[in-house]
Structure formats: C-alpha cells, structure tokens
C-alpha cells in the first residue's frame, strides 16, 4: 500500500515537472513507431513533435492490429474509417487553434491505452468539433503541418488524458432496457424458469437472475425488460440477449428490439482527502453538501450532465451517464478541481 502511494506520488511529480514538451514515452496505437526515433529535446519541442508525427503519419493507414472492441455495435468498417478521419480533423483543428504546445501523455492503465494529444481545452472544445465535415478533410490533410492520427477515438476524445490524473474510473453498474415485442405470461415464466421470482402483490414484474454475466432483469408483461448489474456495455448486451433467449425457450416469440443503455455508474479513488466545505463554497452553484443528511457532496456537473458523489476519503462515484466517455470526461473535469483542495 505504501509503495503504491509513493509510486503514484512519483508519477504525479513527474507529470508536474513535465511542463515543457518532453515526450519521454508515449503509448501510440500505431504499431510501427520505433522508440529511438524520439528526440526528447525540451528546447525544441515543436520540431520534436513534428518529426515524431511525420513518422507516425506514414503508418496511419495500418489499423489492423489495433483493438477497437470498445466501438459501438453499429460501426462498420467504413464508418470506422470515417470516424477516424473525423477525429484526425478534430485534432488538427485543435492543434491549430492553440498555438501553445500540447504534449503526448503517458497513459498507463488497462483501458486500451490511448495516447492522446490534448490540452485541457480539448475536452472543452470538442463539442464544436463533433460533426467534422468530411469534405474539408481532404484539403487539410495535404497541409504540411497536418496531424496524423495519434489516437483512434469513436466520436469523443476519451480516456486517460493529460494533466496527470492517470486514474481511470471503473464502471460498476450498467442499466439497460430492451423491448422483447411480445406480450408475456408472467405466471408461466415464473413457473417454468428456475431463476425467476414473481410476487404480483409486491411488484408487477418477474425478477430473473443469471450467473454469467452476473445480472438481474425485470421482465414486464408488456414485453419490456430492464437489465441491471453488468460491468460493461457489452456484458449488459450479452446478458439482455441471454434473458431474451430464456424467454424464447419458454415458448414466447421474443425479439430483441431497441436495446439501449440508460444509465452507467462508475467509481474511482483520487487517493487524497478532500475538504468538502471548501469545495461547496467555491462551487456553490453545482454542489450540494448537507452533512446532516448525507456524508458526501453531490456535484451536478453541467457538461457532461453527470452527477458526482464526492466523499471526504477521496472516493468519487459518477452516475447518470449514457456513454462511457461521459464518465471519463466528467472525472477529468473534476480532478483538477479536487486537486485544488488537496492541502487545505
């Protein structure tokens, strides 16, 4: 425990010291970048950056070895390319709008380690970069300073971004709904399924559970179903499909329509104590801290629209997201605010 803490401190100090552009290491998705091609020379950050980028540019077409498993279901190959071009465009625009230096970040966690060019303003300004015109992509790619792809992102820049948070919120619960599109006889389901409970006097739905992925579903007689307890979007979808299969096997013509993730809950630990009284004073319009009612501070972030529960021990719970990226973005937004209250 002690070692982990000191390691984290070292890592954070390292990040703080890297105020100039000095990309020591960076985990790029492009598989062909040789490490020794780097020239970490703080006095000429721009040239370092450019030369590095030029190398990567050549390999920007090769994505076969890249892990894209987090992309949403309906993204086909063409769309993938589209989105990649779009995000290239975004990043390029961003680079041009700020004349200051950005730095390649060090990402260390499990989540498909993306290295992302970023500035704190990236997450703020990405909203207006969203629908990048495909038309304007072509000419701008010819420009000498054009930025090759350094990261692959679906629509939004996600995951561990710079400013040294280095912490990735873990998803704890996903709530999703799906329409089985047929009327169901709940009594029959409760009779023929081992894992179902049905108490019409208490609640008008069958509560069904499966072991893998460990989830619970509420199945209503209208054919609508709510699936809770999964730890990732894919698991939630798989679980919902399994419940639909069970219902099918019981003799109902169940289908699988309109699967939608309704809520995602994540949690993480910033590892330092937080002065909640101070936070509620400076961010009064977003925070609600009533120690007489609840020990945590309820922070309602406007963009993205996420509710965060912040506790004095440094643990943070994020909820209300429809997409994983919203949780990551919310955490990246709150981390610098919390750091400001670290030593009060």
């Amino acid at each position: 425990m002690e070692e982990e803490q000191t390691y984290l401190e070292l890592y954070l100090d390292q990040c703080v010291a890297q105020d100039d552009l000095a990309p020591s290491r960076s985990l790029l998705l492009s598989p062909v970048v040789p490490d020794d091609a780097y020239m970490p020379n703080p006095s000429h950050p721009e040239t370092v950056f450019n030369s590095h980028l030029e190398e990567v540019k050549e390999t920007s077409g090769n994505f076969s070895s890249v892990d894209l498993s987090f992309l949403p279901d309906e993204l086909t190959q063409e769309n993938k390319d589209q989105s990649i071009i779009r995000s290239k465009h975004e990043i390029e625009e961003n680079y041009k709008t700020q004349s200051q230096q950005s730095r390649l970040s060090l990402s260390r966690e499990q989540d498909i380690g993306l290295g992302l060019i970023s500035n704190s303003s990236l997450s703020n300004s990405h909203s207006h970069l969203y629908p990048g015109d495909a038309d304007s992509v072509q000419p701008s790619l010819e420009k000498p300073n054009s930025m090759p792809l350094v990261s692959i992102t679906p629509m939004t820049p996600m995951t561990p971004v710079s400013e040294c948070s280095g912490i990735v919120p873990q998803l704890q619960n996903i709530v999703s709904t799906v329409n089985l599109a047929c009327k169901l006889d709940l009594k029959k389901i409760a009779l023929h399924a081992k894992n179902a409970e049905y108490n019409p006097k208490r609640f008008a739905a069958v509560i069904m559970r499966i072991r893998e992925p460990r989830t619970t579903a509420l199945i209503f007689s209208s054919g609508k179903m709510v699936c809770t307890g999964a730890k990732s979007e894919e698991q939630s979808r798989l679980a919902a499909r399994k419940y639909a299969r069970v219902v099918q096997k019981l003799g109902f013509p169940a289908r699988f329509l309109d699967f939608k993730i309704q809520n995602m809950v994540g949690s993480c630990d910033v590892r330092f104590a937080i002065r909640l009284e101070g936070l509620v004073l400076t961010h009064q319009q977003f925070s609600s801290y009533e120690p007489e009612l609840f020990p945590g501070l309820i922070y309602r972030m406007v963009k993205p629209r996420i509710v965060l529960l912040i506790f004095v021990s440094g643990k943070v719970v994020l909820t209300g997201a429809k997409e994983r990226s919203e949780i990551y973005e919310a955490f990246e937004n709150i981390y610098p605010i919390l750091k400001g209250f670290k030593k009060a």
Binding site: K194, A273, Q285, P291, E292, F294, S313
Partner: protein, 421 residues
C-alpha cells in the same frame, strides 16, 4: 335590508349585497349605483354603509389563495414564532412558501409533504441569515421523519434554484452549548458540576475548531462533535471532580439528548489530543492515556496550532528540526509541570516525540474492509453465441414443473385451511 344604509343617489333603501368577481359590493337595486366597493371604504359617506368584517377577510386576496395554502402560511408563521425568530425571517419564509406553492408539483403533493415544506422554508430562511437551526430540531417540532424532510428539502432547493449556505458551526456551538443546563446549581446538578458559561463556550469552540482542523467534522453530522467537545471542555475545567462522570450521565444532567455518534467522536477527539500531547516534552514523561489527558486539555489548546502542525503530517515525514522549539513551551505551563524537561537540549533520554502521524479523516486511516481486485479485462463483444445448454440450466424440467405446482397447491391448501371460516 340590513343596516341603515340608503343610496346616496336616489335615496332608496333597497341595497343589495352583490359581488363583482371577488369584490363584495353594496348596490342599489333601484338605480344601480354602487354604494360601497370592497369593504375597505375610502370616503366618509361610504363608512356609513360599512359592514363589520374582520381584517383577514377584508382584502380580496384570500379568495385567490387556497385553504391549504392559507393553512401552510399560518403554520410557517407559527413555526417562526415558536422558534422565536426575528420578524423579518417570518416574511421571507412566507415568501418562499408562496413561491413553492406556485409549482404544480407542490400544489398536488400530499399533506404530509406540505407540512414538511413548512419546515423547509423556515430552515432555508434561517440558513440564509446564518441562524443555526438544525434539521433535527425542525423534524422534532414537525413530528416528521428525517427521510421525508430530506427529500422535500432537496427537491425544493432545486425547484426554487436557491443558494443555501452551509450551517455555521461557530453559531451552532454557541446556541447548542447555551442549552445545556449546567450553569446554575439545581437539585439534579450538584455544585461541583456547575460551570461558568463563558469559559465553557470558549473552550468548546476551541475544541470544535481543533476537530475541524483534524478532519473529524467533514462529512459528519455536526451535532455529535459539538456534544463531545462540550463534554471534554466541561471535564477539563475541573478534572479532579468531573473525570468520574460519563458522557451519558453528563447529557442527562444537562438535560440534553445524547446523539449516538457522540461517543465515537469523543474517542477520536481524545486520540487527537493524545497525539498532540506526545509532542510536549513535559507531557511525554507522564505517559498519558485517554483519561489523564483531559487534565491537560487547557495547555494543549493553548498551543494547538503548533502542536497540530508538529504532531501530524499530510505528506512525507518532515525532519524533526522543530524539536528545539519545545523549549519555548516551558513558559506558561500550568500547575505542576516539570521544568526539567525544558532544560534538556534535544530529545529527552530514551523517548523522542512520536513521529508525525498522517493527518487524514478517520475513514482513510482505517484499514480497507476488503480489497477489490481490479476487474479482469473482458473481451466481450456482446454478440457472442449463447449455447443452448447454458440457457437450459435456468429452465425447469417438466417433472420439476409438476412437482413445483403440487407443492404450491399444497401450500395454498394449508394456508387456506388454516384460515378461520
């Protein structure tokens, strides 16, 4: 025709009471002249036709206000009077209630919620004027559940978009401490337990500030901390006679409810004081424990800022460069402290001041209950094949279904049979 009125125009005595929308009027049935409008008359002649009406019904205002809202507003005023709040608070609270009532969700709410809403409006008013009123007090006065109160309170703050400042701790200490019945001798309070109010207040305030600084207040209900601090302050002012009195007995004497968490807050506060005492050379040799440290609370509080800085760290351990400062602590010692310790330069033989402990909230100092392993990276796509056998494990075989149905029927029969005819 009631009264002795007659129409100023035609002199007829046929005056009829009629209402124009919500305004009551006296109208002459012969010539149609309006004799009086409303009942607050303006001219001397009109006053001759005056009817006796009570003030609260004299303006048309109450006709637009529903009965339940009127009841609520009356309750708000009553609550303000019971709490002896300044009159300006009353108007503000009434205004909040009216504002809340404009929302359809509130108008359609249950009576219980409207009752609680009264308390919420008063609480918000008090908070905005830094008047220390706790939710517990209001719930006791309204005979309401804290859960119901909290739900309504959060809803109304969000609905009205209000900025409600936090509870002011210093004022709460003053009000709460003043409610302790220990400042005068009485049949239940022996003379040795009576204490001077000012001394107790100032010491309690210092102890609460100390608790705040050492993370004992953040995230916790403020009242138990203040109870514990008051108890320690009272004990330390005359330790020889009061050390035998327990926290529960103290609260009973003082005629104050003992909140549940107060005893654990007391232990935490004593632990902090003990850590601070370890930094004082002349107290180290005494080897204090949780009871004996109470005698030295006065000294510890006097130097609390430096002691906290020395006894705790929030980062890596600092060097003990500050040990020489302890010499300065030799002055102002209080009764019976050895002067010997102050003459030694450097740590006393065989006992150094304890290395600084981490200054963290107690929840971070406790070992974690269970270590959650990071979840394995799953490569699920959500579209995998689902084997039939996996699904079948959740289904009952026909034999099982029959057995289950038989068992259910038997249970129904049993419960049906046991019912009295």
């Amino acid at each position: 025709m009631p009264g002795g009125g007659h129409c100023p125009d035609c002199g007829s005595t046929e005056l009829v009471e009629d209402s124009h929308y919500s305004q009551s009027q006296l109208v002459c049935s012969d010539c149609g002249c309006v004799v009086t409008e409303g009942v607050l008359t303006t001219t001397f002649s009109d006053e001759g036709n005056l009817r006796e009406v009570t003030y609260s019904r004299s303006t048309g205002e109450n006709e637009q206000v529903s009965r339940s809202q009127q009841r609520g507003l009356r309750r708000v005023r009553d609550l303000c009077r019971v709490l002896q709040l300044p009159s300006t608070f009353e108007d503000t609270a009434v205004a909040y209630y009216q504002q809340a009532y404009r929302h359809s969700g509130i108008r359609a709410a249950r009576l219980q919620k409207k009752e609680v809403l009264v308390g919420c409006c008063v609480l918000i008013t008090c908070r905005q004027h830094n008047w220390p009123l706790t939710m517990g007090t209001i719930c006791t006065l309204l005979y309401a559940d804290l859960d119901v109160f909290s739900g309504t309170y959060m809803q109304i703050v969000k609905l009205l978009g209000l900025d409600v400042p936090s509870l002011c701790l210093a004022d709460l200490v003053k009000t709460y401490c003043s409610s302790f019945r220990l400042f005068q001798a009485s049949p239940s309070v022996p003379a040795k337990y009576v204490e001077d109010k000012e001394k107790m207040l100032s010491r309690t305030l210092q102890l609460v500030e100390l608790a705040d600084e050492t993370w004992l207040v953040t995230g916790r209900h403020p009242l138990p901390v203040i109870t514990a601090a008051t108890f320690l302050a009272w004990q330390s002012l005359q330790p020889s006679e009061r050390l035998t009195c327990s926290l529960a007995r103290f609260c009973k004497l003082a005629n104050v409810d003992l909140p549940c968490p107060a005893s654990s807050r007391l232990q935490e506060l004593l632990a902090v004081l003990l850590r601070m005492a370890e930094q004082l050379a002349w107290l180290q040799v005494l080897r204090l424990d949780k009871r004996s440290v109470v005698k030295h609370i006065g000294d510890l509080l006097q130097h609390r800022h430096t002691l906290v800085r020395k006894a705790f760290r929030d980062g890596p351990a600092e060097s003990d460069a500050g040990e020489e400062e302890q010499q300065g602590r030799g002055q102002g010692p209080g009764q019976g402290k050895e002067e010997v310790a102050s003459s030694s330069l450097g740590p006393p033989e065989g006992k150094r001041p304890a290395s600084p402990a981490l200054l963290l909230p107690p929840c971070m100092l406790k070992p974690p209950k269970r270590v959650c392993p990071p979840p394995p990276i799953s490569t699920a796509t959500g579209d995998e094949d689902i084997s039939d056998s996996e699904i079948e494990q959740y289904l009952r075989t026909p034999q099982e279904v029959r057995d289950f149905q038989k068992a259910q029927a038997a249970r129904q029969a049993a419960t049906g049979g046991s019912n009295p005819p």
